[in-house]
């Protein structure tokens, strides 16, 4: 190699640096501002966020960003305006924070979704019930033969019921229910520590076919994949929940929420979110596709939108529908 080639390399290097700078400078010519989603860290949260973000980005032309956050920091980010949309606010579990934000006017609800959800303090695996057909209702836990299924070294003679995530409203409710049913001398609540740990404990028990009594809710990945049975409780009533809570949980409200400032900035997106709805059945379909193919959340969203036009077309304007279809085809 001669001297010239060395110089040539230098020239090429400086040229590419200049090119990079020019391109970087050209990047910011979008007139629409980014809409940031709180990407809640559970599967229905991820899937709903991916679907909504895909429509907002391709149908309405807003660049989107997603920040994966847990429940509480996710809600705080929505309040401060660091994120603008949260697809799932579960009430009453986050009631206190929600009421405060509503009073201050920082966030507002744009409707609800997953109206066919459920939660229960007394869930058992299908194989446990198949082996113990007499274990049907909450009251059956008082029978020694069924109580003995769930004892652990730490709970001694008492059945261990894995409770809900520390800090959620259900934590207190579960304790009250035990007293309400007179189960507190038969069952002790074991703290799972976190949602991740609760899921891992359930997955482990299913692999080992071990008996487990736990709090759970749906629609979730586990409720879609596994044969869960809910012990019978008297149906929910306001009167019972005001008293000793010795009855089933009410259906939770799953709100879609926006930071109030989004309304002025992107009224078309707000209109879309107000119409948007998602069902547990749709969630289960998406979950099972994901389970079979190991697809990422974005791939699940695209698959879902491509195969369920009837589901999302009513939520969007004709123009947005056309653009989303084009994006899916391309």
């Amino acid at each position: 190699m001669k001297k010239a080639s060395w110089k040539g390399l230098l020239a090429l290097a400086s040229l590419s640096v200049v090119l990079l700078l020019v391109l970087a400078a050209c990047g910011g010519d979008d007139e629409k501002e980014v809409i940031v989603f709180t990407d809640l860290d559970w599967t229905s949260g991820h899937i709903q966020t991916a679907i909504a973000a895909y429509i907002v980005e391709n149908g309405y032309g807003y660049p989107t960003d997603r920040v994966t956050l847990a429940t509480i920091p996710g809600f705080a980010a929505l309040e401060t305006g660091d994120t603008q949309v949260s697809m799932e606010i579960w009430l009453p579990n986050q009631q206190a924070a929600w009421d405060k934000a509503i009073a201050e006017g920082t966030v507002r609800s744009v409707g609800s979704s997953l109206d066919d959800n459920w939660q229960s303090s007394f869930v058992i695996p299908g194989y446990t019930q198949d082996a113990n057909p007499g274990l049907v209702s909450v009251e059956d836990l008082k029978k020694p033969e069924y109580q003995a299924l769930f004892t652990t070294i730490e709970t001694g003679d008492l059945a261990s019921a894995i409770g809900c995530i520390p800090g959620w409203a259900c934590e207190m409710v579960n304790e009250e229910k035990l007293v309400g049913y007179g189960l507190d001398s038969y069952v002790e609540i074991t703290n799972p520590g976190s949602g991740t740990a609760l899921d891992a404990a359930i997955n482990g028990a299913f692999e080992k076919q071990e008996d487990l009594l736990f709090y759970y809710w749906g629609p979730t990945q586990i409720s879609a994949e596994k044969d869960l049975r809910i012990l019978e409780e008297p149906p929910y009533s306001d009167a019972c929940f005001d008293a000793d809570k010795a009855c089933a949980y009410p259906v939770a409200q799953v709100l879609i929420a926006i930071n109030s400032k989004l309304e002025d900035r992107a009224p078309d997106v707000v209109a879309f979110l107000e119409k948007y709805d998602f069902t547990a059945a749709a969630q289960v379909a998406a979950e099972s596709y994901m389970g079979e193919t190991g697809a990422e959340f974005d791939e699940v969203a695209e698959w879902f939108l491509s195969n369920n036009e009837a589901f999302w077309v009513p939520f969007v304007t004709t123009e947005a529908a056309k653009k989303v279809r084009e994006a899916l085809a391309g």
Binding site: T152, E154, I165, G167, A200, E207
Partner: protein, 331 residues
């Protein structure tokens, strides 16, 4: 800079590049070319293969298989550790608080001096007055069990690594991994194997806290001066005598420093442990945080710090006095 300066070719008077410079020039040109292509065409170039999904799913299957087939073994381990923990926890919870405070105060005074003794008692009174006593004792039991298991594991492994360079070479990246791998990566399989609660918490604590004890045991044995080893050998010691009567006693201060670090790291793991259902001060911290009560969380967190300081001062002083005993008076 010699690397970057082309050599003047003696024959032709032109510049030639050495082999290193050639490699540098070619890789530089390639980097610039690819960066340029991305800059021009915009798209981020994908790496041609991506096996991540398949490999990940294979590992998931392996974890499921291990959970199923290893159930008897995991249940056995889990039961044993749970019994040990319950026994120790019951002891700490049963012990009246004045007895515990006086005991720790006297121990600190004897080992580390009057000032540490007084500090320990005042700090423990503070802890108790904030309503954290029961949680602190639960945490204490967790730390005692995980640190005992850690030491029982670390000292033999450290000695083995000190005696065998190949073991040392293999062990080093493993220890690095244990200290840097995000804990939930191994906690989720641990919960599947061992169930929820204190046992996976103790397991995670051991994984995180054991490396310094292994490293410093290894170092301590290797640091024993060759003159002393040679002298011992010339008196005809067997290799077993050399290890137990010369090398280990000489290494004790360093091993103690390692154990001190292990205890500190075990206490640091207490909050993570609460995420898998372990009780104690970590649970208080997590619960307060999830209810957005930073004040309560700070108090419980300070409780962990107080315990750490007391244990640290006592173990450090013990290591120091051992060092002084080895060096003899006047050194």
């Amino acid at each position: 800079m010699a690397l970057l300066t082309p050599i003047k070719d003696k024959m032709t008077g032109g510049l030639v590049l050495s082999k290193k410079q050639m490699v540098l020039a070619v890789s530089g040109a390639f980097t610039i070319l690819t960066v340029g292509l991305v800059a021009i065409f915009g798209a981020e170039p994908e790496f041609p293969i991506n096996r991540g999904k398949n490999v990940g799913m294979k590992i998931d299957d392996a974890v499921d298989w291990t959970t199923r087939e290893g159930a008897w073994l995991f249940d056995f381990i889990s039961d044993g550790v749970t019994y040990a923990l319950l026994y120790i926890e019951n002891f700490f919870v049963w012990m009246p608080w004045p007895a515990f405070m006086i005991g720790v105060g006297v121990l600190a005074w004897k080992v580390a001096g009057v000032r540490v003794g007084i500090f320990a008692v005042i700090a423990l009174l503070l802890l108790a007055s904030m309503g954290l006593w029961h949680s602190a004792m639960e945490t204490m039991a967790l730390v005692v069990v995980s640190v005992s298991l850690s030491i029982g594991f670390a000292v033999p492994v450290g000695i083995f690594a000190a005696k065998n360079d190949r073991v040392d070479m293999v062990l080093r990246p493993v220890l690095d991994g244990m200290q840097t791998m995000p804990s939930f990566v191994y906690l989720v399989p641990a919960i599947m194997f061992l169930g929820i609660g204190n046992v996976p918490a103790i397991f995670a604590t051991i994984v995180y806290a054991v490396p310094p004890a292994i490293r410093l045991t290894n170092l301590g044995i290797r640091q024993v001066s060759p003159e002393i080893v040679e002298a011992a050998l010339s008196f005809g010691t067997t290799s077993r005598q050399l290890l137990f009567k010369v090398q280990i006693p000489m290494a004790v201060p360093t091993i103690m420093a390692g154990i001190n670090q292990t205890i500190m790291m075990a206490l640091a793991m207490v909050v993570i442990a609460s995420l898998v259902g372990a009780g104690g001060l970590g649970e208080d911290v997590m619960r307060a945080l999830s209810r957005q009560e930073p004040g309560k969380a700070l108090l419980a967190g300070t409780g962990i710090v107080i315990m750490a300081i007391i244990i640290d001062r006592i173990t450090q002083a013990a290591a120091k006095s051992r060092q002084e005993a080895l060096n003899g008076p006047g050194v």
